[in-house]
């Protein structure tokens, strides 16, 4: 593509759509990580299950919007179940032995186990033909915004993702629940002292975070197709956005990073070949993590 004003604007629009997705999944991952400290790689399962459920429902005639809601709820259920049935008992049983470091490693290992099991179970029973599933009941039409070409799906995805980020922001800033979540995140011991049931807050946070992941997954899958391993790349993006965004429970800050990455990635296609973009994104993550060794943040952030 050439460096024309039109191309730059077109890519800006594409980048905004992509960025809204990165922003939403980044907020989702960041919320869970910041409040509970769980390095929840099994986040990918909420994402995948939601997409498959939406595909199955729409295939059977359920409307897109109803399927979207069901997918979000199912994703939340998966997240809550993982916290309640796996992470919490795991850390209560043996995680205490080696302190925070061992707890982190335990969660990482368990969550990777969950991903392996879940992904392959889906392969066996939900996508046995190996082809993946498409989201039906959605009419994708081209939309022309003053010369910038998008699709109706792009607009829908963008709107949903932005709305979720705004809702999360309002919940965290304006409600009593949000205050309790932020309090738990900032100082869990003191939260318990003032009478907050922090275990319940953890479950709620897993629910909200996973709901966002599930809803974001549906238009993502609608754009291509739902396959069992579809969660892997998004979870890497989600953690990239979460880590670059800092751990401050500030969805706006995290969202800004998400939009930034989306727009950069889209505009970068003017300069480099498309196949480099993923490499560039992973490299940014690598360099950012490595830089923690030299700016001091690596020793302080989260355990």
């Amino acid at each position: 593509m050439n460096f024309t004003a039109h191309n730059v604007l077109q890519l800006l629009a594409n980048g905004a759509v992509l960025g809204a997705f990165y922003a939403a999944i980044g907020c989702s991952f960041s919320l869970i990580l910041t409040v509970t400290g769980r390095f929840h790689m099994a986040w990918a399962m909420s994402f995948t299950v939601a997409a498959f459920l939406a595909a199955s429902l729409t295939e059977n005639g359920v409307s897109f919007w109803l399927a979207l809601l069901a997918a979000g709820i199912a994703a939340a259920g998966v997240g809550v179940a993982i916290e309640r049935l796996i992470y919490r008992p795991l850390l209560a049983a043996g995680g205490a032995a080696g302190g925070a470091a061992s707890a982190l490693l335990t969660v990482v290992v368990a969550s990777l186990g969950i991903v392996i099991v879940g992904q392959n179970l889906i392969s066996l029973f939900w996508a046995p033909d190996g082809l993946g599933k498409s989201i039906a009941n959605i009419d994708v039409k081209p939309v022309d915004l003053g010369g910038i070409a998008l699709t109706s799906l792009d607009i829908t995805a963008f709107t949903i993702n932005v709305a979720m980020i705004a809702a999360l922001f309002l919940i965290l800033r304006r409600t009593k629940l949000g205050r309790n979540i932020r309090a738990t995140s900032v100082n869990a011991d003191m939260a318990r002292v003032v009478g907050i049931d922090t275990k319940r807050i953890f479950l709620i946070v897993f629910g909200i975070g996973s709901f966002i992941a599930g809803v974001a997954a549906v238009p993502y899958a609608a754009k291509t197709v739902a396959v069992p391993e579809m969660g892997f790349i998004p979870v890497l993006y989600a953690l990239l956005v979460a880590f670059l965004g800092g751990f401050r429970n500030n969805p706006l800050q995290t969202a800004a990073v998400g939009f930034g990455i989306g727009i950069l990635e889209a505009e970068a296609s003017l300069l480099v070949d498309l196949q480099y973009t993923q490499l560039v994104v992973y490299s940014v993550l690598f360099i950012f993590a490595a830089s923690r060794a030299f700016v001091g943040g690596g020793r302080t952030a989260l355990a």
Partner: protein
């Protein structure tokens, strides 16, 4: 070369042997990762990425006309260099960032292969047709030709890792895993250990990657993806972190799963692979939930005898079932272990000679001047105490002397050597070692190992001598264990020698930690609240021990809140208030001073 092995496997078909090769290659991956993860406590999610370096070296060099030996050597070396580089970064990262870093690395490597053009690595499809690879001129046609090679490398890697892990070297690694700061204060250069292990185990993963390319005849990005790293990680966790035999078992089990599902359960090959993945994913969750130590736990009874043989020591007896020790040990008068450099006679105790001279110490935290112009002398062969109300700066001064903090200004001179700004292990080597208020024993190591690891100058701590001078290593190890037992006896904890530190009561842990400090042979000992948090009867035992350490001619400095403790053992007491020394001398005199009492207790 292959005939004898081939005959003994004659009942197996080439497909079976191919599975055995695969199991052996996974064993190389897993054993080396286990040394890094289970012994040294360093996390990486990227073993397969290092494997890719080895795999592509072998494939590319073979296509350019070289043998497997060249490819493996290059792959090992390049992977080792990358391992050291990652290790250097990892030294300064907390666990969560290390997880992110290695996760990113494991996704970058396959991506780099895909986009790289020169020299051509085959991109997405990989380098194919890696068949009939020569190894030292001998062409490897069938899996049975490869078997001796994989077997030899698996054996070498296993034995090298076992030697590194189950030796004085490995004891330091386990201490690094359990508490890096504590082992550094005992005089070990933790950077050296971490980098060596990061480098070597990465190189070994490179070898595994090289062999897997020959085994599968292709070098493709998919072989070295994050999923592959995950499988290796799973083998280590399932087999048992810190037990190399467990990794062999885990590699065998996971490799056997595919033919098991295919042939025994009759599932079609494509689905069998999925079931295999489900099985190990589930096993991972179940193991970490129900048996977090893995199938073969570190130090398990079945492997301990074997390990002891490798170490060149007799097998340790079963730890006796010990109830909670309610009784403080009675301290027996004799049996003060002789200090390596002569003990009591090492330095004549000159009256008033100063061992440590701190001058003009200054330290601020965020604008608050915690320590302002403090001068302190530690007299040789005396007990010096720092006291004062909370927040007076005692602990800060203690940490400045110990080298845990760097002073903003001022100097600390130990035996004419300026030590301000030196690393804790360098200070330990100069003869000054500290204890911790919260003990900080290495929880997963036995009491004996906790003390033995502190013995300085062990030949078995050098990687080179571990392999080049086994006799000296064996002698050194016997001497270190003897020394450890003597110090345990000195503090009255002989009965707990084979008990893991985490299973000791707090009072017992305090005594073992004293033995650990004494075993370093340091002439200056800094004790951080040695008597806090333990029951009354234990306090007396501890004080008697400190008395005897002083009588041996060592110099002791303590921070302590309990005035009764200080009255009993301190020769000189410094009283601090608001970051300054406001009085010093005999503690009895200080306690009579009404003004100091007002300072300590607050004005009414």
């Amino acid at each position: 070369m292959t005939s004898s092995i081939v005959t003994s496997f004659a009942f197996l078909g080439e497909t079976d042997i191919s599975y055995i090769n695969l199991a052996l290659i996974y064993a190389i991956y897993a054993v080396s990762l286990n040394l890094l993860l289970g012994y040294a406590g360093q996390v990486t999610l990227a073993p397969a990425a290092f494997g890719a370096i080895g795999g592509y070296s072998v494939a590319r060099l073979f296509l350019d006309g070289n043998g497997l030996e060249v490819g493996l050597l290059v792959g090992f070396s390049v992977a080792l260099v990358f391992g050291v580089l990652i290790g250097i970064i990892a030294l300064r990262l907390t666990l969560i960032w290390l997880v992110v870093l290695t996760l990113a690395f494991s996704t970058i490597v396959p991506q780099v292969i895909i986009v790289l053009r020169k020299p051509d690595l085959g991109q997405v499809g990989g380098l194919t047709n890696i068949v009939d690879v020569p190894f030292f001129g001998h062409v490897l046609r069938d899996p049975s030709d490869l078997l001796p090679v994989t077997l030899a490398f698996a054996a070498i890697v296993f034995l090298v890792c076992l030697r590194m892990g189950e030796s004085p070297y490995g004891r330091v690694l386990r201490a690094v895993r359990d508490d890096t700061t504590a082992i550094q204060t005992l005089g070990k250069n933790t950077f050296r250990y971490k980098l060596q292990v990061f480098g070597l185990t990465s190189g070994m993963a490179g070898i595994a990657g090289g062999l897997i390319v020959v085994q599968s005849t292709v070098a493709a990005p998919g072989t070295f993806s994050f999923d592959a790293s995950l499988a290796i990680f799973a083998i280590v966790v399932i087999g048992g972190m810190g037990n190399l035999y467990g990794s062999l078992l885990g590699a065998a089990l996971i490799t056997a799963a595919t033919p098991f599902f295919q042939n025994v359960l009759g599932i079609d090959p494509l689905k069998a692979t999925l079931w295999q993945l489900i099985a190990y994913g589930a096993a991972l969750i179940i193991v970490i939930r129900l048996r977090p130590q893995g199938l073969l736990p570190a130090g398990s009874r079945y492997t301990r005898d074997l390990i002891a043989r490798v170490r060149g020591t007799r097998p340790a007896p079963e730890p006796p079932d010990r109830g909670p020790a309610m009784q403080a040990p009675s301290v027996r008068p004799p049996a003060m272990p002789a200090s390596r450099n002569g003990g009591q006679s090492a330095r004549p105790v000159l009256d008033g000679e100063i061992a440590v001279r701190a001058r003009g110490l200054e330290k601020s935290f965020g604008g608050v001047r915690a320590v302002q112009g403090v001068d302190i002398d530690l007299k040789r062969g005396a007990v010096t105490a720092l006291v004062g109300p909370n927040g007076a700066g005692k602990t800060t001064v203690f940490n400045l002397i110990a080298g845990a903090l760097r002073p903003d200004a001022g100097s600390v001179v130990l035996d004419d050597v300026e030590i301000a700004g030196k690393r804790p292990d360098e200070i330990a080597a100069l003869g000054m070692v500290r204890s911790f208020q919260d003990v900080r024993l290495f929880p997963q190591m036995t009491a004996r190992d906790n003390v033995a690891v502190a013995v300085p100058g062990q030949p078995g701590e050098s990687l080179a001598r571990l392999f080049a001078a086994p006799a000296a290593v064996g002698r050194g190890e016997r001497a270190a264990l003897e020394m450890a037992d003597e110090w345990l006896e000195f503090v009255g904890m002989s009965g707990a020698a084979t008990t893991p530190a985490a299973a000791l009561s707090y009072g017992e842990q305090k005594l073992v930690s004293l033995a650990r400090v004494l075993a370093t042979d340091a002439q200056v000992i800094l004790l951080d609240e040695p008597a806090s948090g333990i029951e009354g009867s234990w306090v007396q035992a501890m004080l008697d021990l400190i008395d005897r350490v002083r009588d041996q001619g060592r110099t002791v400095c303590i921070v302590e809140h309990n005035m009764h403790v200080i009255e009993q053992i301190a020769d000189v007491t410094y009283f601090m208030e608001s970051g300054r020394v406001v009085a010093s001398g005999d503690v009895g005199e200080l306690l009579k001073d009404n003004h100091l009492a007002e300072v300590y207790f607050g004005t009414v």
